[in-house]
Subunit: 348 residues, 2 copies
DNA sequence: TGGTCATGGAGAAACGTATCTCCGACGCTT
DNA sequence: AAGCGTCGGAGATACGTTTCTCCATGACCA
């Protein structure tokens, strides 16, 4: 390439990168030759030289061989899409990597930083990454592992909001469908529920199950409604809980919302068309994905976070709001449906 | 690292990669020191030296700033997930890149090959990649651009199958909701429909709209049912067509399936719970994603495809079956629903 | 005793870029 | 005429691997 243009390697590099002191004449000539030859600078060499690959990792704890979990598929898909976009907007590309099997693929990819979704307490992978000096930003407040920064929903406020909403709709005994794992989401949500129960003097009514097992969810939903002290309203922490609870309610001849109020946390729009439509809590994964990636890239590029003078032990955190999408399943007085009244079929 | 272990660089490389002739003793010693130091070989340097990055790109033509289209979101999400898994299973990582803006991110990433979803005719990006000697495998039979290999559904057979299915359910005038773009999927499907119309002597009844515009779809669905020669069955090529057609049918007081049979192509499971549930054609994106990635990696690693001696102009192609998920919307005699008959509520 | 061979490991080149240093040439000032 | 500043660009080095070549050491055999 340098030879073809009749100049030195230095000149080529300077011309293409807009550096050095070169007359525009030389610059354009070099670029023209490069174009003609279809020359592309080697990304690998640049990475080796500069120490920057322009690649960031996205990883999530998994419970199988799939690179992401099923229970949160809609959440993850939206979040990953937003993260990919945000990265591209700033000139980075995003690689999805499995949290397990650290040594296979991870060593083969040069990463400038990593986004970790839902790290577990004392996550060994996060610690490992952090030890290597790589910026790590987590989606979900980290339990006990050091991260550069983190973003999370305000789960406490979200759960309290839902419980208030259900109470106002007439619920007297609100139940919870929760998980057995120790991630932040499950933990904070459950704690908020228990705290609320204490404050209003209701005895807790909940069932916990391993969230990664789709069948266990259906069983737990059934168990919750089969209790002698059956709740008259239920909040389900995981996406499939809505349909599971609806099916269980049908088995016990509970009308929703008349006999049972229902809310679940989900990003899926199927709940807009179920019978009845189910109120859902959206964690706004798009905003989370965008924020997380931007924080990560700020850290990579050495832009100090402006909001805090000194990061605390777990880096600086940021709480994002959630959104409650109220539908019929959580309203005792359903709003008049907008479906048109049946009229006689008109021909053509 | 080499100094810390008291051996040469060569020995370190050999020990870690399992090459060269070294006694197990030396090997384990080097590995132990590496472990203690937290040493990781530089992926950038390895890539530079070997010419392999272990990275493959996944790109899809977009109609906005988002890295993937909305109309096919469920398809894309599933396909991308399968592709990511398949890549990881073979030690590769997958990077999602936008089809537009060739020069920003693309130059910064060292790719071993690329998967292209739905390349357009004479796709300049595909041609560019191919010119650089990078293997390119496309999802969707390429129109006129050179690719290493391609995978596609048998759209012809799929459409014919649906039309037969509808005809057997009693349809006399089958309409089509199609797109205006020139991608293979739209083109082949429409051609199959027109051919079928000719063969059975039905006049074609279709509306075409720009598939990337979600509103245009609803309008086109309405237009199709507003025609004087209104069809008594419709097949919609794109995911949102099902709900759009259902809404339009409601406006014209057409009962589904009694007055109007409905089928659409979709990967979304919302159509299992609509009223009535809608028959869908699944393109089996998971299998496509897996196959595409495996073909690409075969090409990267120089594994010749076994099925064909010499690749034709557009590389070797492979047709994958689709799956018709029959639901109430396309059956005049609906099967008895499997919902359990109501039983009296049993207490606890 | 000299030659051959296997073993264990070191040396050095090359991958392609970015960047620091330096050099020649030219114009200008004193 | 000598010195100085600027412009345009070349040289050289380092980034950290992989891999090819080659060397030293013994052991074994004729």
């Amino acid at each position: 390439m340098a030879a073809a243009a009749g100049v030195s390697i230095t000149t080529v590099s300077d011309a293409l990168n807009g550096k050095g002191r070169l007359p525009d004449e030389t610059r354009t000539k070099v670029r023209e030759v490069a174009e003609r030859l279809g020359y592309r600078p080697s990304a690998a060499a640049r990475t080796l030289r500069t120490g920057r690959s322009g690649l960031i990792g996205l990883t999530v704890t998994t419970y199988g061989q799939e690179p992401f979990t099923f229970t949160e598929f809609a959440y993850f898909a939206e979040m990953a899409r937003a993260a990919t976009s945000a990265a591209l907007n700033r000139g980075y590309a995003l690689v999805v990597l499995p949290a397990s099997s650290r040594h296979d693929v991870w060593s083969n990819v040069a990463l400038d930083g990593t986004v970790v979704i839902d790290p577990s307490d004392h996550d060994p992978m996060v610690a490992d990454l952090y030890r290597q000096g790589l910026p790590v930003v987590s989606d979900g407040k980290p339990g006990n592992c050091p991260v550069t920064a983190w973003v999370d929903n305000d789960h406490h406020a979200a759960v309290l909001g839902i419980l208030e909403h259900l109470a106002q709709a007439g619920a007297r005994r609100i139940g919870l469908l929760t998980g057995t794992s120790t991630d932040t989401y499950t933990r904070l949500s459950t704690e908020a529920y228990l705290g609320w129960c204490r404050s209003v003097g209701q005895e807790p009514l909940y069932e916990a199950y391993p969230a990664h097992d789709p069948c266990a969810g259906a069983v737990a939903a059934d168990r919750l409604l089969a209790r002698p002290d059956r709740p008259d309203a239920v909040y389900g922490l995981f996406d499939p809980n809505g349909t599971d609870l609806l099916a269980a309610a049908r088995r016990y001849h509970l009308r929703v919302p008349d006999d049972l109020l229902l809310v679940c946390c989900s990003e899926s729009d199927v709940y807009a068309t179920t019978e009845p439509p189910i109120t859902t809590l959206s964690l706004k994964p798009r905003r989370i994905g965008t924020t997380v990636v931007n924080l990560l890239i700020d850290a990579i590029e050495g832009i100090a976070p402006a909001d805090e003078t000194a990061a605390d032990q777990n880096g600086s955190g940021q709480l994002m709001p959630t959104e409650l999408i109220v539908r019929r399943s959580s309203q005792r007085r359903p709003p008049r449906t907008t479906v048109a009244a049946p009229r006689p079929p008109g021909e053509a």
